[in-house]
């Protein structure tokens, strides 16, 4: 899956100058005016995530996946919609609920699934697992397991891109410098970490183009938002207190996300400013694979399922005449096959060799770094 790309003249020149060919975000005043292919691609990407996550749960139950595993179903419109508003070489970073962002960013289902199967063909060679999806070619700087660890890092990517543009005058790869925006995703639980507040202050103080996307699913594990964060109905006021752009967006309708989010991306890029978006969404599954979910009712879950973002897009596209029942059926089938193939590939891929334990520890594995271990360079990462 690659970023939906609309080539403009500008992107052609950038593409030549920069080895990392940039796919520019599609532009329109209203999502409904976007090219049909872009809208269909969104649907495909959202359904791919849905299908992928359903199969992930199965594989977890069959003990093919271990550790902590957090499912993204319900929130698909957020990753696909917001990533759909940035260029393919804008940095992206997220927390541990990261499969959706990885797929939306263009990681192959094979690399993502193989990582969870602990295989050498995984995006982190089986060393990271579900919570640590990294994809350098697609500018994805990880899933991160420690709540809010990614929020200062989000500011750091923005710092680096600003530095490229203003100090180096070219990209670190040697291409033509350009204004970039970093997307930094976070859960509502991450609002409560001090790190986030330090990051916002620095980002605003130094004019760093980073957008904090709060995936507000109302729960931090089993704790509802009104029990874990103060004044939760006015979160954007906090951002404004830091002098940042602060906007609340309904995250269940991808067209709406595009319409409201795209102008913010453009503004942050142009003006080199940070923003905070309170994006209301909902997770269908438990916090992780081991969560009895006693803190919410089935009714509540069903109410959100009635407003499912994929169903909404399907009906919009049908109404617009872009999608027929048959098209939708065949898309779903194609995606089922694609994910099944990813599972098969993950299953049959080899596990890392024992020696792999001692690789990738140091970029310069010189002598006497350890009393017991001898380090070496790792096998080539399958994504590189």
């Amino acid at each position: 899956m690659t970023q939906a790309t609309v080539q403009s003249e500008q992107s052609m020149t950038t593409a030549k100058a920069d080895s990392q060919t940039a796919g520019l975000a599609p532009t329109a005043k209203n999502a409904r005016d976007l090219p049909k292919e872009v809208l269909l691609k969104w649907l495909r990407d959202m359904q791919l995530i849905r299908e992928f996550e359903n199969r992930t749960m199965q594989a977890y139950q069959q003990a093919k996946i271990g550790g902590f595993c957090h499912i993204y179903t319900g929130q698909e419109a957020v990753a696909v919609g917001t990533i759909g508003c940035v260029n393919s070489d804008d940095p992206v970073i997220t927390a541990y609920r990261d499969h959706g962002h990885a797929l939306a960013r263009g990681m192959t289902p094979e690399a993502c699934m193989a990582e969870m199967f602990g295989k050498i063909t995984g995006c982190a060679k089986g060393k990271g697992g579900s919570m640590h999806m990294f994809d350098r070619p697609n500018w994805l700087f990880g899933g991160h397991g420690i709540v809010s660890a990614q929020t200062p890092m989000g500011a750091g990517f923005a710092f680096a891109t600003k530095y490229e543009h203003e100090v180096l005058g070219k990209t670190l790869e040697g291409g033509e410098a350009k204004k970039k925006v970093t997307l930094c995703y976070m859960g509502d639980g991450a609002l409560d970490q001090g790190a986030f507040h330090e990051a916002q202050n620095i980002a605003s103080l130094w004019g760093l183009p980073v957008i904090y996307i709060l995936e507000n699913n109302s729960y931090s594990m089993g704790t509802a938002i009104d029990r874990h964060t103060a004044n939760h109905e006015n979160l954007i006021d906090r951002a404004k207190g830091y002098g940042m752009i602060g906007v609340k967006i309904d995250g269940l309708d991808i067209m709406n996300i595009y319409n409201e989010f795209k102008p913010i991306v453009d503004q942050c890029r142009e003006e080199s400013r940070p923003a905070f978006i309170d994006l209301k969404t909902y997770r269908y599954q438990g916090h992780s694979m081991s969560d009895p979910q006693k803190y919410r009712t089935k009714d509540e879950v069903d109410q959100y399922k009635d407003r499912d973002s994929i169903a909404k897009l399907v009906s919009d596209l049908m109404e617009m005449g872009y999608l027929s029942e048959d098209d939708w059926k065949s898309t779903q089938k194609a995606l089922r096959d694609e994910v099944r193939a990813a599972i098969d590939a993950a299953e049959s891929a080899p596990v890392p060799e024992d020696d792999e334990l001692f690789t990738d520890v140091y970029a310069n594995p010189e002598k006497n770094l350890s009393p017991t271990a001898t380090y070496s360079h790792g096998t080539k990462n399958p994504l590189m």
Partner: protein
Amino acid sequence: MTTLPMIETDIHPAVDNPELPDFVAEHELPSREGDRVVQFREALREAMSEEMRRDKRVFLLGEEVAEYNGAYKVSQGMLDEFGPERIIDTPISENGFAGMSISAAMMGLRPIVEFMSWSFSFVAADPILNNAPKMLYMSGGQFGCPIVFRGNDGAGGQLASTHSWCVEALYANVPGLKMAIPSNPYDAKGLLKTAILDPDPVFFLESERMLGDKAHVPEEEYYIPFGRARVAREGDAITLVSFGRPVNFCLEAAEKLAEEGIDVEVLDMRTIRPLDIDSIIASVKKTNQILVVDQSWPFASIASEVVTQICERCFDWLDAPPQRLNTEDVPTPYAKGLEYNYLPNPDRIYDAVKSMVNA
């Protein structure tokens, strides 16, 4: 067993008269055999609940400890018994809630701070390392800090690098704190009760991998003193020193070695600070060989500390260089096979002992 008086005082200065029980010798503790079998998590819960019933100054706070009944069900039912004023759900703000608990302890309260995992304690590193252990010293003896920090420590559940920390070596480096690392339900209960009474900050390291382990825990109340190791298995071929979960790996390896006529002695240290070096020396004088099994990384680890102290204090009693077996010196991998090799498992212990006794 010692029954301590009910605490009537609501608040009083923490440094006054620590109300420690009269500890008894190991053989006077209630029997470790019996049919009252409970899980490790229940033993922890009993320890906290008993102390909370006795002393109103004690309270528990942490993420998901109350309404969710504990992320790992350690505090199950405690909200019902003690109410939301004493069993307190926190935001994911370790720096904030650990920091405020320290000052509550300076006032004379007795907080038990649960870290869902010690891996999440790093975002609270400043208060727990800079304030708690140094408060008595920095205030010239005016303010103590009677607080317990507890939570899961160690790898084993395929949680990868950031969630698999063994903090013992890192944190035990700091003077002013105490550290307990139980390996079984019986000790977990007796040590946690002592930790709650102790007038100093205690870092109490549990293991998610062991919370379901079951063993006999007596009805009778008991306190296990800090700084007293337990001989978990007697033998004369070699001394294995360990603490926490790897003690069980040592015992497993010892079983297999015994079949081959190699009788190893296994010492369960129970606390790292204080460290019962005298028991280690006594054992080394008997076996003349020592292997320290430690689930933290080797560089500047607890194992390095034990080996150093042995070299300093009973070098002449050693027939061979003292050795250590640590977690492999790399970040924790996710893949199952890699993680197994990474940890000090029974196979690695078996091999290490064989190569030492055959040398």
